[in-house]
Subunit: 419 residues, 2 copies
Amino acid sequence: MPEMNEVREARIEIGQVCEPGDVAAHILLAVAGPQTTADVVTGRAASIPCLDEYVEGLRAAGYQDPLKAAGEALRRWHARAEQLKPASSLREQMAEIGAHYLVPEDAAWPARLLDLGLSQPYGLWVRTGSRGAGTARDARTALAACEVSLAVVGTREATQYGLEITHRIAARCRDTGVTVISGGAIGIDGRAHASALERDAAAGRRGMSTVAVLAGGIDRFYPASHHRLFEDILAGGALISEATPGGAPTRWRFLQRNRLIAALSGAVVVVEARVRSGALSTANHALTIGRDVGAVPGNITSELSAGCHALLQTTASAVIAEPDDALRLLKRPDGSYIPEGIGPSPMPNARGIARARVTDGMTEKQLAVYEATPVRRPVDVARIARWAGLSADEALGVLADFDLRGYVRRAEGKWVRTR
Amino acid sequence: MPEMNEVREARIEIGQVCEPGDVAAHILLAVAGPQTTADVVTGRAASIPCLDEYVEGLRAAGYQDPLKAAGEALRRWHARAEQLKPASSLREQMAEIGAHYLVPEDAAWPARLLDLGLSQPYGLWVRTGSRGAGTARDARTALAACEVSLAVVGTREATQYGLEITHRIAARCRDTGVTVISGGAIGIDGRAHASALERDAAAGRRGMSTVAVLAGGIDRFYPASHHRLFEDILAGGALISEATPGGAPTRWRFLQRNRLIAALSGAVVVVEARVRSGALSTANHALTIGRDVGAVPGNITSELSAGCHALLQTTASAVIAEPDDALRLLKRPDGSYIPEGIGPSPMPNARGIARARVTDGMTEKQLAVYEATPVRRPVDVARIARWAGLSADEALGVLADFDLRGYVRRAEGKWVRTR
């Protein structure tokens, strides 16, 4: 597929010169296609073809002075193009560590990324396999695994509580075949990946159980303290990044990475997060593109649950009170749940919450008789009737019904509750 | 007011014979008025006047066979009427302990109780003052205090966390002049009352800071272990019950008591509760009659927070993440908040949650320059421009702007971040 390779390499060039989420670049790509865009941003093309259309696109995107914006973008891109590395050699180097570049033109490109509109990634570096074993096919499998996935994200400063809940949710994902997507950071992210990777001792299965979306280059293990975890992720999952190999995880790229986690995942769950945090930025990206978001409540004395509570207070996020609540976010358009074995919420409805005891749903008369019947020492009907404020006939009718239901029993002509 | 006393005593008789929430009695009262109803339920009247209207009322309330239901109700009431105590002597006995009977015909009757429709109490025993000092006027003051009130309810098995949050909410109510209503039980209820009663050392004020709504008679301190607390409540608040003095706190009366807490209060907050609990029954009563309900989240590993999470998942309850969130439930119809000093929620909106750093809201170009500017060692504009992928002119423009905002500073012709 020489043509696909040209597209791929054009996009690799664009990714080297343009930051993820560079609106001017994304619009050019939409207007001119990958190869022309690569020529423009790298400076190989002397001018912008279809300039009118491009200017119109910039104006539609909110640029007050589109020509000026285009000029600035060109200077920005050309300044970087000086350090451009040949895309083909980058591909070869990355293939050696098991990383492959997938582009929107690939059949395996996740349809969900289209929800990002113009700002969908130029392409994604996908790395799998221990010691560079990952093939291009493995990379496609990794993207396919994101189809049934849950993002589990949260603070780097996680508490024991947060880590425990993360473990429970990620383990439930693993058990139901849901890929856990997270950001590879220490704290909640790391635990989510690690718990998703734990193998069922019995099954010993291995699949794309977890995907880490990185802000920096796919060849850099950041944070370094997660070196071992990243090795494990490569063995049982994948690393994904839209940054050019070697690229530093800048703050801008972290923010863009959050949008990518939100877009790749079926839904986003925030386990613990401060009110101002990257995890909430991921949740807000998710809400913006229509993904369901869940938040795990915690003690309101914990600042690390404050972000979750803020989400619950100010957005349509769902309360995640047990792992299956998280999986229930992964609903198909027809309303069915995606992981097997997950049914609709077993929560009773509002009026049903307080109902559950023997006495619930009883009529007034039944309740009166029930309460008038002693728990220990049996008494006769006349006594029960008087205590219940009923006639003896009425009381006897209710007692007979209770007897059938097993609520009371008769002992030597008297009555007593069974429990 | 001889006529008012007749009404009062008729209702005291009804309360002795009919359980709170006895639908057949409530409908009769609506159709025939208090005095005729008292005559009927006690058996002084040989038949039911306006029988057609009564039967129609029973049918409208869902009784399949209204005549049969009326007959059963009569037998139920007449069986109890045998032990009827003279209402006037009951009033005198109760006045000695500071308890007075207020009825819907009283001007001081809380308008909110009308939300209960047919099932509003026949009347309420209201007890105030240490050693029987409470006057009828004090009783009216107590009911008036419920106008600006918050119900704070929860489990008897409260954790330290639940007790601490209860304290914070009740103390905030006390500080803002909101009466705390609860059920006088051990656990959350008791702490809510006790914290509401704590006096501001400086102010030394005394008012109706808390009201306990009891399931049993107003002359019985139940639970007995709260004897001291009830004495304190009498000194700084009030006890309220619709049960006839001497009446036992039966399960039926507890359920009816919950409806009364919901109706008397401006809003209901559940601090800790199991999924099946009286506190959730109170919350559901509140939701049914249109009161706002709040629930305090907690660790999802705690079964005592599970009821709160169930409320949040299945009803329109609000997340209470801080005491003022509870007070914000007390909104006037015009949208203003009732306690002084409470403003609208300071929560940022969904999109605002993640915004707060220097870099938030920056344009792409600004962010690129910001990130390209070192924190420690100043560098020249050309270097920043190259790193940022901008022309030197562009970079300088941004740096100048940053300088004005205090984000960067110039040092010997080079640039460095200020923080």
